[in-house]
């Protein structure tokens, strides 16, 4: 039953009519107009608008008000110009940052933390200085003061701000405001980065509070400037990293139990980092940096590279959690994974090259650590990629690679469990090969082909992970026939696969040996824990390695053959009307960008 079409005119921007007392507004405006004849800079529309805001916000007195004595703004024109530029630049800021900052600066939590920090820093300065008298005049006294400042600063930077960001995003979900944000033009990434930017701003404010105190401490000798800078920069970087982790956990779980669990995890993580980092930082303050400046910079750069890209991956994942199912939620993650992988390998290679005199700790330790990290990383990431939904929505199909070259290189970035599994397996093998290469390169007397314990473990972990992903794919495709769920179920499916791989051969072995102890044999090849343990000690029969890796390769190739047609989906045409509408919107946005661009930085076609 179709309702009769209404003959009302189409939607237009409605005129200002209803509701309020316009006379008051008009009167105030005309007063301002009269006054502005003496102030040429107020004649433009924007000044009128600003005036209007003041009126609407009850600031009529500022303009002279009823019975006032006319406009008497003493602000010099150049200051007004700067103010205007600042306002216009403010328009380009992330709205979440603007909102969060407004909220944070008025919140009881911020005011309390800020005042407590200020008070505590002043008290510590006075107490520690008095306590050190008269030694403070001839002995280096900065470390004593700085330990206190570090502890004071670490609490808001590493605990309060990340928790506030966590709570902020969680409350958006809890109180239904996330729904309101979701229907706006804001993208999920803007929401997440807005929260992060707000956290960074708060950290900056806390740092500013302690800056005079830290400067005072520096004058008391006992600490060098690079160490001090490293300490402060480290605090900010780690604080931002922890905020990213907190934001990652915030929207992950639904329900009260999930929220409490994730809060406990985040709290434990924050406190753990607080304690570990605190110990290291205090040692550094008291005894100085054990590394040379160049070494410190290289180490910090490498850690920053790997950690920064991991944070980027976590931020992308957080944003993806807020993205509707109908959109492409995989490609961004895969790109972030690739970036992180490249950065981590580059960082590890740089560390090995720079610290080549470090002996076995560097030669074997770094590649082994890298391989262990890659195993865990791919276990989590690969299982989730292998459990993606196989359904490609029309929206996703519109964005699939179209040309031959695009399909050659970008197919593995498109959503779906088949492409996910291939992407994970190929990159996993390549990244493990990189770790292998580092081990070979760093090892002074090792040959590339020799199967040492760690190298065998690398091959086996690749093979077991591939088998695990295939198991995940099988379990998930079975489960998906009746249920919908998110990709984190893939991790559980991987755990189930691995449990079966251990229990089945071990159970059979135990049964055949009348439940007595029995030795490892090739029949236990799927028992990955036992096999890896034997391999780590270098006692594994190479046959087992070949069997496991051969089985994994065979499974992977069969999967590739079976899912061939699926991993080459055709791109669908975007409806003409939709394309036109997007073009129209892009044009409008570019116009708006030009309109607000105070410094003439906007480029043609750029977005605001």
């Amino acid at each position: 039953m179709m309702p009769t079409p209404n003959t009302n005119p189409p939607n237009t921007n409605p005129p200002l009519t209803t509701g309020l007392d316009h006379r008051r507004v008009d009167a105030a405006l005309s007063r301002n107009d009269r006054a502005s004849s003496l102030e040429p800079s107020l004649e433009d529309d924007e000044s009128r608008d600003r005036t209007l805001i003041e009126i609407l916000r009850g600031g009529e007195g500022h303009l002279g008000g009823e019975g006032g004595k006319g406009f008497a703004d003493p602000t010099p024109p150049w200051l007004r110009q700067i103010d205007e530029w600042a306002t216009r630049l403010g328009d380009r800021l992330n709205p979440i940052l603007v909102k969060e900052t407004r909220q944070a600066l008025k919140s009881r939590q911020f005011l309390t933390t800020f005042s407590m920090l200020l008070l505590a820093a002043l008290s510590w300065t006075v107490i520690c200085s008095l306590q050190g008298m008269p030694a403070i005049y001839y002995l280096p006294w900065a470390p004593q003061l700085l330990v206190g400042y570090y502890v004071l600063l670490a609490v808001p930077m590493l605990l309060v701000v990340p928790l506030a960001a966590y709570r902020s995003l969680e409350s958006e979900v809890d109180e239904g405001t996330l729904e309101l944000l979701s229907v706006t033009a804001l993208s999920p990434r803007q929401i997440i980065t807005g929260k992060l930017a707000s956290a960074a701003l708060q950290m900056g404010l806390y740092l500013v509070v302690l800056f005079p105190c830290v400067a005072y401490a520096y004058t008391l000798r006992g600490i060098d400037l690079p160490t001090l800078a490293l300490l402060m920069a480290g605090l900010i970087v780690i604080g931002l990293g922890l905020t990213t982790v907190a934001l990652f956990f915030a929207p992950v779980t639904g329900g009260r139990t999930g929220q409490v669990t994730s809060l406990i995890v985040v709290m434990a993580l924050l406190l753990g980092v607080q304690v570990i980092l605190g110990r290291e930082a205090i040692d550094m303050i008291r005894f100085g940096n054990p590394l040379r400046l160049q070494d410190t910079l290289v180490l910090a750069g490498c850690l920053l590279l790997a950690g920064g890209t991991l944070c980027h991956l976590l931020l992308t994942a957080s944003a993806i959690r807020l993205t509707p199912e109908s959109e492409n939620r995989s490609t961004a993650i895969r790109v972030a994974v690739l970036i992180h992988l490249l950065a981590t390998i580059a960082a590890a290679a740089m560390l090995i090259r720079w610290f080549r005199d470090g002996g076995e700790l560097v030669e074997i330790g770094i590649p082994t650590l890298l391989a262990a990290y890659l195993s865990v990383f791919w276990g989590l990431v690969g299982s989730m990629m292998s459990s993606e939904s196989p359904v490609l929505t029309p929206r996703v199909r519109r964005e699939l690679p179209a040309t031959f070259a695009e399909r050659m290189f970008l197919t593995w970035f498109t959503p779906g469990p088949a492409t996910g599994l291939v992407f994970a397996c190929v990159l996993m093998v390549l990244s493990m090969a990189a770790a292998w290469g580092m081990m070979v390169e760093a090892s002074p007397n090792g040959s590339a082909s020799k199967l040492t314990g760690p190298r065998t473990a690398m091959i086996l972990s690749c093979a077991y992970l591939t088998i695990g992903f295939l198991g995940v794919r099988l379990i998930i495709s079975f489960l998906r026939t009746r249920n919908t769920f998110n990709v984190t179920v893939g991790i559980a499916a991987l755990a189930v696969t691995y449990m079966l791989m251990i229990l089945v051969p071990y159970g059979v072995g135990a049964y055949l040996n009348d439940f007595r102890r029995f030795d490892y044999s090739a029949w236990q090849a799927s028992n990955w824990i036992w096999t890896m343990r034997i391999a780590a000690f270098g006692n594994l029969d190479p046959k087992v390695t070949y069997i496991v890796s051969g089985f994994a390769t065979f499974g992977f190739l069969v999967h590739l053959l079976l899912t061939g047609p699926r991993v080459l989906p055709q791109r669908w045409e975007t409806p003409k009307e939709v394309e036109e509408e997007y073009r129209r919107l892009a044009g409008e946005t570019a116009d708006e960008a030009k309109e607000i661009d105070p410094l003439g930085l906007a480029t043609e076609g750029g977005d605001a």
Binding site: P3, T18, G19, V578
Partner: protein
């Protein structure tokens, strides 16, 4: 290699939900993939005729359209095969008991949820495939008022204006208009948490209007408001309709909906029971019209005469009048009155009354919830 969108071969529905006989006239969704338009599990597929689907619908007069919308949450079927359309500039009432599926289908329209099957369009754009384009022209007011701590009304509206991409003078003008329209100018500097329910609803409406959308979805906007606030809200909705906005309004206060809506849809247990204007629904469902006759003679005689007429039911003689439930067209009614006068009944007054929306609602629904 770019291919045109293929037609939908089969609907992805469980056996129990094979669309029933009265399949709506609308074509199948544009964005349907071979596995269904949205990621739902591969369940047994019933036979649904193949049809080529248009990319966007082309009826300019239709502003909101739901096509065979389904939404399942596990075993719960929140929305089952709902189809209707709303013309541009109309106020459309969405009525149903609690748990009927109103909010679910409204959330789908607002791009906040995805249907298990089916499609929804706003201004011709699919809510599944082009949510950005839909959001650009849609204002949504949920049944719960999402507030922020430590934020004033001005800051709240300013934030949402920024979030909708309004900048510079445009944003200020729009804020000014919204504060004027909703009558919240005096509250601009007050913190939201301290506002009354009525003022919060106004502010919420203002937020939905901030980017000047052509379509508004208002979920229970009058819930918990006092009579004056309800009247003011009704006036605002009427005003918006006069300005060419299309409104989809759900409410439990049916008398108000009847007054402001051009047409309504009644749903229960996720199924659409009736749609159209109140009169159309009455006509469709052969609703009884209540007729009151007053006569100078004995009402019992008149009642006896009326009881013999097949169009009259439940004839009741009262003090000086007779009340009957009449089934028929206006012409039949005229014929009945003519016949009575010709039969010599001294009739002084005949009045008729259509059943109210409330009565229709009670008659159409069964009060079941899922």
């Amino acid at each position: 290699m770019i291919a045109p969108q293929p037609p939908l071969p089969k609907a992805d529905l469980p056996e129990a939900d094979v669309p029933e006989a009265d399949v709506p006239q609308a074509a199948l969704p544009d964005g349907s993939s071979p596995d269904g338009p949205v990621p739902i599990p591969a369940v047994p597929q019933p036979d649904v005729p193949e049809r080529i689907v248009p990319a966007v619908h082309e009826e300019a007069a239709v502003c909101i359209e739901l096509r065979r919308l389904h939404r399942f949450f596990g075993d719960t079927k929140a929305v089952r095969d709902i189809s209707f359309s709303v013309g541009r500039g109309q106020v459309f009432g969405y009525i149903g008991p609690n748990g009927a599926g109103k909010t679910t289908s409204m959330k789908i329209l607002a791009t906040l949820d995805l249907p298990s099957y089916g499609e929804a369009f706003v201004d011709g754009f699919s809510v599944i495939n082009d949510p950005e384009l839909v959001r650009h022209r849609l204002g949504y007011m949920p049944d719960s008022f999402g507030t922020y701590r430590d934020v004033s009304c001005w800051e709240y509206l300013d934030f949402f204006a920024r979030a909708y991409g309004l900048i510079g003078r445009d944003r200020i003008r729009r804020l000014r208009w919204v504060l004027d329209f909703t009558g919240t100018r005096g509250m601009a500097e007050k913190p939201i948490r301290g506002l009354s329910k009525g003022m919060k609803q106004r502010l919420c409406l203002g937020r939905a209007l901030i980017h000047d959308p052509s379509v508004l979805i208002l979920d229970e906007p009058a819930a918990g408001l006092d009579p004056r606030a309800r009247i003011e809200l009704r006036q605002m909705i009427g005003d918006l309709s006069d300005r060419g906005k299309t409104l989809l309004v759900s409410s439990h206060i049916l008398t108000e909906l009847a007054e402001m809506c051009h047409s309504v849809a009644i749903i229960e247990q996720g199924r659409l029971l009736a749609t159209g204007s109140v009169e159309e629904i009455q006509r469709e469902r052969k609703q009884h019209r209540e007729l009151v006759f007053r006569s100078l003679s004995d009402p019992a005689k008149l009642a006896q005469a009326l009881a013999q007429n097949p169009t009259c039911h439940n004839v009741q003689a009262q003090d000086d009048s007779v009340i009957v439930e009449f089934v028929g067209e206006p012409a039949d009614q005229a014929e009945l009155v003519r016949g009575l006068i010709l039969a010599g009944h001294p009739i002084t007054e005949v009045s008729s009354r259509l059943k109210s929306l409330e009565e229709i609602f009670l008659q159409v629904t069964e009060g079941r919830v899922q």
